[in-house]
């Protein structure tokens, strides 16, 4: 990743668009289906002890190395684990499930929370499945 990219990430001025991609980082093998080469839907379950949200990053106009940098710099310090992969999915998949799109910009201007998940855990499970179906798995090459 170049210094140029770091200095020129003027992303925050862009409005949220349906077609833009989001990513959610993966830290354990069990969330990767090696047969289908997809992320498992359990990855996309909202975290109840985190306000029932799903934390994502907006990766529009990002080069690969910058996407991994976002995890290393802003997620790994809290997860205390190494990122092994990520699942990219269109924001439209979350909108279709009527989740609230909150581009909170914290801890980074590209951070976006998916909120307002149903209180019924089985309905959450179905939404997670649909997001997983819409996602693409990208393994991190060390």
């Amino acid at each position: 990743m170049s210094i140029f990219h770091l200095l020129t990430d003027r992303f925050s001025k862009l409005p949220v668009r349906d077609e833009e991609p989001l990513t959610h980082y993966i830290f354990v093998d069990e969330h990767i289906n090696k047969t289908t080469h997809k992320a498992k839907h359990q990855l996309f379950k909202p975290r109840k002890n985190k306000g029932n949200d799903l934390s994502t990053f907006r990766i529009i106009n990002c080069v690969e190395s910058y996407i991994w940098y976002l995890s290393k710099r802003y997620v790994e310090p809290f997860s205390k684990k190494k990122t092994i992969a990520r699942a990219d999915f269109p924001l439209a998949a979350a909108k279709k499930a009527q989740l609230k799109i909150n581009p909170d910009g914290n801890p980074h201007k590209r951070h976006l929370n998916l909120e307002n998940w149903p209180t019924d855990s089985s309905a959450c499970k179905l939404i997670s499945m649909e997001i997983a179906n819409a996602s693409n798995l990208i393994l991190k090459n060390e």
């Binding site: 830290f27 289906n33 498992k40 379950k45 975290r47 109840k48 089985s122 499970k125 499945m129």
Partner: protein, 170 residues
């Protein structure tokens, strides 16, 4: 001495002349051989799925040992504890025979999920929690979800989905 025999060989042997050897006063070697074959025969009479169920219980133990601490998924997940593991094992014992072996996946709530995944359009998942069972599925164009209390029998809807879409007989 080694002897290569198939499952059907043993069943044929047993049904045709296996019983007659003992009564006809065969030699010691034959008696030993028959004892071994009887033992093998008993084993072959066991449902094949016993192994499948036991494998799932072993896998639950593995997951419990591997993820018995908070934050195992990198996102403040809860540990998989003894209670979660026991409830999951109870669920395993209720699973019907002849179904496709599920993939066991740990969830952030410290629980274990049973997944049957044939394609994006044939997915069924059951999460086994302490107080309730949560399920959801996508079968073709049909999407459904629900909860039930785990008892001594499997929920009718869950059993129907498993037998209809994820069994070897359909």
């Amino acid at each position: 001495m080694s002897l290569a025999v198939s499952h059907s060989d043993i069943l044929d042997w047993r049904s045709s002349w296996g019983h007659s050897i003992t009564s006809s006063g065969a030699g010691e070697e034959f008696k030993v051989l028959q004892k071994e074959l009887d033992s093998l025969y008993e084993h072959l009479q066991q449902p094949v799925t016993l192994g499948f169920h036991q494998q799932l219980e072993n896998r639950i133990e593995e997951l419990k040992l591997k993820y018995n601490y908070s934050g195992w998924d990198g996102y403040d997940s809860e540990p998989i504890d003894d209670v979660s593991a026991e409830v999951a094992k109870h669920f395993v014992r209720l699973l019907p025979d002849n179904i496709i072996e599920p993939d066991l996946v740990p969830e952030s709530g410290g629980i274990i999920s049973f997944d049957w995944n044939l394609s994006n359009n044939y997915i069924f998942s059951v999460s086994v929690q302490k107080d309730e069972i949560v399920y959801a599925g996508i079968i073709g164009r049909e999407k459904f979800h629900g909860t039930f209390i785990l008892g001594k029998k499997l929920n009718e809807k869950v059993e129907r989905v498993l037998i209809e879409y994820f069994s070897f007989t359909h």
